[in-house]
Symmetry: C2
Subunit: 217 residues, 2 copies
DNA sequence: TGTATATTGTTAAAAATTTCACTATGCACC
DNA sequence: GGTGCATAGTGAAATTTTTAACAATATACA
């Protein structure tokens, strides 16, 4: 029997679990009912043990000798990750990226509902994007408190990211996803996550170079 | 003296080095000429030893008893990472996210020049975004070969990501950054990197929940 | 020129993560 | 019901990554 463990769960595990859900959904659409850790691992590009280990943090979801029931596993992971609820999100900074995210229906599909957007540019205030009216950033703290928002997305230019974060913190936000390429400081009880896809481009660029060097040896 | 090592460099190191560059640039703008690993670590949110270790993969860039010269270090890292050159990039899939990336001037600033954009939607073909005309995807392989493109960005819907990847591979691309939430398969010699910021939102959501659970105990 | 101080580069230890190997168990078929 | 096969769960081993500790060395100043 599985006992609830209070081990710290690796961040990488969380990221992988989200990938598993993604691939399980594809399989479900293809009508696949049962999947083994080996096959799932193959399509997620990881090791089968890794999958079993990752799942073991949360419980026992499979049937020995059989595999995992696709639907059940997907639901179990979603529940474990808190993917089975919706989260109210606000956005600070309505530039190109912000607009794209506001229009990104996958966010809502995944349970992240952007309930308000803020910008300090008077030309942008009042503009409506994907059904959301851009408001003045000064209104942010009160709004987030009123609407019970838990997550803030920062899509400002880097030099304004900290200020955006301060507003969010003042508004009692619990977590921040910062798309601006700059570090921010926040109190211990606020979860901060950084997203910078330029890093991924560098990673690819670097690996291309390495590949070529290795090829020469 | 530093001997060139042919150790495998952790992916995490590469990501951190990009962050160091980012923070060093901020410091340079503030007129800071010399920085210690401790202070840089503080502003990057990492451990000082980590910084020294990361740098040690590439050489010796500091002065004992003094620290690192900001400008020199930045340049050294950029060179080590291949950030000192430009890379020609093509994009497949011109949706919301694609458009945002096309207009994202930070990409160009960082040396990633989007030289062409492709989509299979006839309504999008011919449209011009940020000075780039959207072309039919069927033209992709020949174009990338002709233009010597090395990196491809996939911003299609997930179900079309593999097809996009196939075109890119056919076009002799060396690396792919896949923004679509689906795994793709590519030959060994093609570097693939996945970007999915929804994972980051999940990570924040999960950590918020965990925080709250921990708070209750 | 010597000494104190600061801080890097580097080696060793610790911690975290991944992979392996094996045990347990469920199902299908005889 | 028993036997063989497939595959999950799990503890241990291997590997990787991070952190700590310290030796080397540059600067400042007596």
């Amino acid at each position: 029997m599985h006992l609830q463990k209070y081990e710290r769960i690796p961040r990488a595990t969380i990221a992988r679990l989200a990938v598993y859900v993604q691939e399980l959904e594809v399989m479900e659409q293809q009508g696949i009912k049962v999947i083994s850790s080996e096959k799932l691992a193959w399509s997620c590009g990881v090791n089968p043990s890794q999958i079993r280990k990752d799942l073991a943090y949360f419980g026992e979801f499979g049937v020995r000798g059989v595999g995992y029931y696709v639907y059940e596993l997907r639901e179990a992971i979603k529940q474990s990750l808190g993917m089975d609820r919706t989260w109210n999100v606000v956005m600070v900074g309505v530039g190109n990226l912000g607009r794209a995210l506001l229009r990104h229906h996958l966010l809502r599909k995944r349970g992240f509902v952007i309930v308000a957007a803020f910008d300090c540019d008077p030309f942008k205030i009042g503009e409506e994007i994907a059904g959301i009216e851009v408001q003045c950033t000064s209104k942010l703290p009160q709004s987030t408190i009123d609407m019970g928002v838990e997550i803030g997305i920062i899509t400002t230019p880097p030099e304004r990211a900290q200020r955006a974060a301060n507003y969010l913190i003042e508004g009692g936000i619990k977590g921040i996803v910062n798309f601006a390429p700059s570090r921010i400081t926040a109190p211990e009880n606020v979860v901060v996550e950084y997203v910078d896809f330029i890093h991924n481009l560098f990673s690819v660029a670097f690996n291309i170079t390495q590949h070529q060097i290795k090829g020469l040896l």
